[in-house]
Amino acid sequence: MTDALWYFGRGSGVVSLVLLTVVVALGVGARSGRTAFGLPAFAVNLVHRNAALLAVVFLVGHVVSLFFDPYAQLRVFDLVLPFAGNYRPLWQGLGTLAFDLVLAIVATSLLRHRLGARTWRLVHWLAYLSWPTALLHGLGTGSDNGAVWLWSISALCTATVLAAVVWRLTPGFGRFPQRAPRQVNPRLLPTRTRPAEAGTLEEAR
């Protein structure tokens, strides 16, 4: 039984990290106009939300199972107060910090219609702090530290999020969808492409 808690705690932590990676990648890539894999925008939005809630389920499982685990020997305040643990306080504290941030992000998201868009978005940006913190926690603490499979999963997660960031930063990632051809007065175009000037150049030749 005690072994079961220990193994569940380790496994659920990894599952939670993978799910959070999906959530962060979708969140980074979600913007108007273009969505990943040709999905409609509402589908990306719903997968983002549902994967996040599922990640919270595994995260709570991760914390609760290790709380009752006789090896980990967590105290109640270790669940929310970072960097105060007895065992590897820095690495365990990173996990506690990420847990707190995820709780704040999820709570404000569920209440965002009451909080307003500005507060919700400010708290939501904490995800960019929470996800790397969780990643470092997974790499630094625990008995899987140094295992090839854990490093592979962490590298894949990092690559996924970095790919989403790069994709979003590409110049073609427009803020507005380009569904209609823009009708621009030729006089307002940059000078070198102005047809009148092209004409004068032609004449000068």
Partner: protein
């Protein structure tokens, strides 16, 4: 009948509402929702309208109760 209300100062043209509620909203050329009718929500579309309101990333969509008069 409840009515849909778009807060145009908040709307960012993300297009989710027109995807979730094509019966009442159509996307214009720039992705912003354009009303098909008078934005009153028939009872059968109430759940879809609530989901569209819930999913709006800019919190720009609202359901407003009809005036009591």
């Amino acid at each position: 009948m409840n009515r849909l209300h778009v807060d145009w100062t908040a709307c960012d043209g993300r297009g989710l509402c027109a995807e979730l509620l094509p019966e009442l909203l159509v996307e214009d050329d720039w992705g912003y929702p354009a009303p098909r009718g008078d934005m009153s929500v028939p009872p059968a579309l109430e759940p879809a309208a609530r989901q569209a309101v819930d999913r709006c990333p800019a919190l720009a969509l609202r359901l407003t109760a009809p005036a009591s008069s």
